[in-house]
Symmetry: C2
């Protein structure tokens, strides 16, 4: 496994492989790797000849009051995990090499970036779309892997790839959960012991929605209201949003349908957690 910091070096290494007709699988991450990330690396391993993982805590997707500096960066542990999963290249660029001082070009996916998590995080998805475009241009992968846990991110990337004709296939892999149901997230590391228990309420609320739908409910408003009621029992949990939206255009859906996305975000103390289910799971 090669660990590479230089953009040019990585580009030229990979170019050689591409000229031999080898396929490249790419897993962009912000590090603090968990089983969710590892499931992406394993899938890339199965699908492609060469697996590239990037570890880069991207400053342009954090707001001024967000956790950029606090975000966990356990690099040597991450590298050991990548090695164990047989990644071929780990790309860890420096922020100053990714963003020059007069950097001024941004990619924005309109309509999808301002809703759900975008409402309370203006500029977040613009930062994501921009860094992902940069990474795609550096790595030039054949297939890229994202987790369903960050549903909105995955939908935005898919739209961006389509709109900008980026020659890459996007695979979105299922959310990985702890035994209790908590969706894996690097930000779970912020949770105290009691908070971790409270955090189970996200998947519990989604399971409630699934159950209601299984039993015939189709009214999004009623389902949301039942989820809200369940979550409000936990005094320490503050709801950011619970929404039922179309899984392609993220527009609110009044009725449950096969292409709906039920997404929620809550604050548990100072930690924001998100989770979702999509039509396929209902």
């Amino acid at each position: 496994m090669k660990i590479i910091k230089s953009l040019d070096k990585l580009f030229h290494y990979l170019k050689k492989f591409k000229l031999k007709g080898k396929s490249i699988g790419f897993v962009p991450t912000m590090g603090a790797l968990h089983e969710g990330h590892l499931s992406l690396i394993r899938q890339a391993r199965k699908d492609t000849d060469l697996v590239v993982v990037s570890i880069f805590v991207n400053p342009t997707q954090f707001g001024p009051k967000e956790d950029l500096n606090k975000y966990p960066r356990p690099l040597s542990k991450d590298l050991a995990l990548c090695r164990k999963e047989k990644a071929n290249f780990v790309f860890c660029p420096k922020p100053q090499d990714m963003y020059s001082r007069d950097f001024s070009t941004f990619v924005n996916v309109g309509g999808l970036s301002e809703v759900l998590c975008g409402k309370s995080r203006p500029g977040h998805f613009r930062g994501v779309a921009t860094v992902v475009t940069k990474l795609f241009n550096i790595v030039q992968p054949d297939i890229v892997y994202f987790g369903q846990k960050d549903a909105q991110q995955a939908i935005i990337i898919q739209r961006m790839v389509r709109d900008l004709n980026i020659p890459v296939k996007v695979r979105v892999m299922p959310t990985i959960r702890e035994k209790g149901g908590l969706a894996l997230s690097s930000r779970n590391a912020y949770l105290g012991k009691d908070e971790r228990k409270d955090a189970l309420v996200l998947s519990q609320a989604l399971n409630l929605a699934k159950l209601l739908i299984k039993n015939g409910s189709r009214d999004s408003g009623r389902i949301i209201s039942r989820m809200r009621h369940l979550i409000k029992k936990k005094k320490s949990v503050k709801i950011d949003y619970i929404e039922v939206v179309d899984s392609e255009n993220l527009k609110p859906l009044k009725k449950i349908s096969g292409n709906c996305l039920i997404a929620l975000a809550v604050w548990i103390g100072k930690t924001k957690l998100i989770d979702n289910v999509v039509g396929d799971d209902l």
Copy 2:
């Protein structure tokens, strides 16, 4: 020479060539080709194994009151010129294949897009940056060619390529002029006989600036004022802007220097024309 409308077909044709290690030169155009465009094709012919010309009048770079529908589209003449210059592929996509109905992703180069021509054409350079990104992703060229005549466009594309790590080399080729000095432009076709005479004032004003600088003038304000005075003698010509700016960041320069760009835009009747000189020519 192959004429291709389908994005997928072009992509797959070119992929074969790339796998053989062939280099691709790309000249993106809006058609209505003139010697300026042909000089780009000729340079691409010299530099690379395979030359792709695109002809696409890009709707997203036209404002609602601009000349999208009126813009000249002499396709069969353009194709004959491309054939004569030995282009290998001419890519003529349909607008609906480039922009789906729910298209919503845009690339914007901040800071450089709102000044000079961007002031009176909000969204224009966002449209240019977006379509060029799309075309780069479809063609995946090694070298791309732009004309110095559209100086701001060339500077924006160079910044975008740098910021987004697009793996392409940008070559900006000199402005081609008629004998009288008029810079070639597809929009010259709009000019009546008298207007065409008046249009000489653009290069005359730039020649005056060059002369003043040659004779020792360094004060941008004075040079601009002399250019303005010259142009105002033509009653039919309306100045949009005359500016002396840094040729990298487009910020106004009070003093003439080696990296300055002297750019102007004027209305001649209903036709807007632009022209410029850069430090190298001074």
